[in-house]
Symmetry: C2
Amino acid sequence: MAKFKLDEVDHQILDMLIENTRIPFTDIAKKLLISAGTVHVRVKKMEEAGIIIGSSLTLDYGKLGYSFIAYVGVFLNKTSQTTFVLERIAQIPFVTVAHVTTGKFNIFCKIRAKDTNHAKNIIFLLDDIEGVYRTETMISLEESINDKKRLMHSIFQDLV
Amino acid sequence: MAKFKLDEVDHQILDMLIENTRIPFTDIAKKLLISAGTVHVRVKKMEEAGIIIGSSLTLDYGKLGYSFIAYVGVFLNKTSQTTFVLERIAQIPFVTVAHVTTGKFNIFCKIRAKDTNHAKNIIFLLDDIEGVYRTETMISLEESINDKKRLMHSIFQDLV
DNA sequence: GGTGAAACTTCTAATAA
DNA sequence: TTATTAGAAGTTTCACC
């Protein structure tokens, strides 16, 4: 996987777009003292290079009534069942992330729910999947850090 | 926390914007057979209500050379040190998410790194924080599910 | 609530430097 | 690679349903 070289201007553009994808290119151009056309060309290049995959809204799920977050570690009877179990997990609503992992768990999920009772139902669905031996739940009491901009800065400082 | 009522049209608008925040309102309007002005007003209302917090780019960090993902559980000597330790964690680069959790760990982090060696350095920084008793790392072999659209659908089906 | 059209802003691609 | 430019496209407002 070839590494794409980002220069300072690319970094600044990404920085602003990570914070707000709808910021006009003209605004970015003004701040960086370049032309809007340049911003356009650079963004297009990063899209073509596959650096920028897409864009998404950030929603306040709490305001919609879904403020419960938990991580669920899944233990399997046999590792060979991983693919099968993942397919089943993909059918369960409110599972937002799933990773195959080394270490303690075989599969590691993140769920978002209304409350503990709602979460219980989701976890029961996970437990019920054939091949799942047991699960272990960690409830999030507080999401302290969740910042894409931080990662971008870490990467850019690292690359320099 | 008051729950905001989303109707079918709001849901469809969010659905399209979650997939691509830069899709023109005129396109959304065409697909939903409403006017662009209506889309604009609805989005504005959801922004004012705090449902839509912002928008962000999705980047391929792998293409930038950062394809290593791990979850790190942190054990503390005393729970009362949580705030202090979180402040320290916030200083460590490449830690992208941190939660205070119940269950096995006191704090739960997600990190993104270049490779195992790079990750090791990050984990050592976590281990070195005063009050951290030990850490436990789970390396992601594969991110199988990571889909905001799924969550939106789960929520909307639940609300109906 | 929503519409449609006007006024305004931004995007985008071609040209030129 | 970047700037300029100009026509196309998108956004936003508002009088009127």
